[in-house]
Symmetry: C2
Subunit: 151 residues, 2 copies
DNA sequence: CGTTGATAGTTACATTTTCAACTAATACCA
DNA sequence: TGGTATTAGTTGAAAATGTAACTATCAACG
């Protein structure tokens, strides 16, 4: 017979080793650091940034594709797409075979913004990675991808 | 002379290796998984959960201490404290030497909730950690703490 | 066909978070 | 002492997010 929570858990649990907590804080700290790049210059939100980078890096795709690849809810993506469309960073193109889909493609201005931010992102990531050895960097990223359920 | 963004960045940058992105997604995925524990049973938000766990694990402290330790903005903490006070999970105690401070302490009910959630958190973290070797787990946590700016 | 069910995406509403301005108390320092 | 700057914490309005219900389109199957 086991108690619903053992005293051991209370004695041994430590917040500073709890993965969801650590991931959230480190994610928040690093993302806020990078955020100024796109927020100040383009007034973009984090989700808009994600959509822009998916299209810039991986080419045209539907909103649903972005949802799946970025593990992001469709309402967030839907609003980000509308916002990016309003500032003419992307265009929608209805699929004629199946008109539920619309393919999203960056405009030249959208792609230009992507390129600019790409440089900043690369710089930012190199600075973060400089804290760790190549082996640590590899393990870190592999673990994170697995936790996120990414390929 | 260097261009503001080199073509190399555009060619080589990959979203799925970008740390802020990976941290955010993995943080969101794992936290959403654990969230049901405290949300369903106690109707707590993520920030309220954090405050509860700081007090439960590390003992009485001020809101400012929680802000510093959890790298969380004071307005978030302030509102979480009010909410936890309303359901009588904690009490405030004005410091008489410096009356700007108030020390926060869990009530017996608050501590009971902490103990219950502690068990679930321990279980949840063990399940996540089971995906990795002890060495990977150690490296992962050390890297995350450093990125988060935690001791 | 026509009904049922699934899927892509949007919208309305509630909750949360952010940002800036605010109060109250203390520290600093001439 | 008195004025200015800091610090702890709160609050209101705006922005972002989450949840659920919605439209529109297509698929499957009688």
């Amino acid at each position: 017979m086991k108690a619903p929570h053992s005293e051991d858990d209370v004695a041994h649990f430590d917040l500073k080793d709890f993965l969801p907590y650590l991931l959230n804080i480190s994610g928040e700290v690093t993302s806020s650091g990078f955020q100024s790049s796109y927020k100040n210059q383009y007034g973009m939100t984090r989700t808009e940034w994600r959509v822009l980078f998916h299209l810039g890096r991986y080419g045209d795709m539907t909103a649903r594709d972005i949802c799946t690849r970025a593990r992001t809810h469709k309402t967030k993506v839907s609003r980000a797409v509308s916002a990016l469309e309003k500032v003419r960073f992307l265009k929608r193109q209805k699929n004629l075979d199946d008109r539920r889909f619309e393919t999203l493609c960056l405009t030249p201005e959208g792609y230009k913004a992507y390129k600019t931010l790409c440089g900043k992102a690369g710089q930012f990531d190199r600075a973060l990675s400089a804290n760790f050895t190549p082996q640590e960097n590899a393990i870190l990223r592999r673990c994170l991808r697995q936790l996120a359920g990414l390929p």
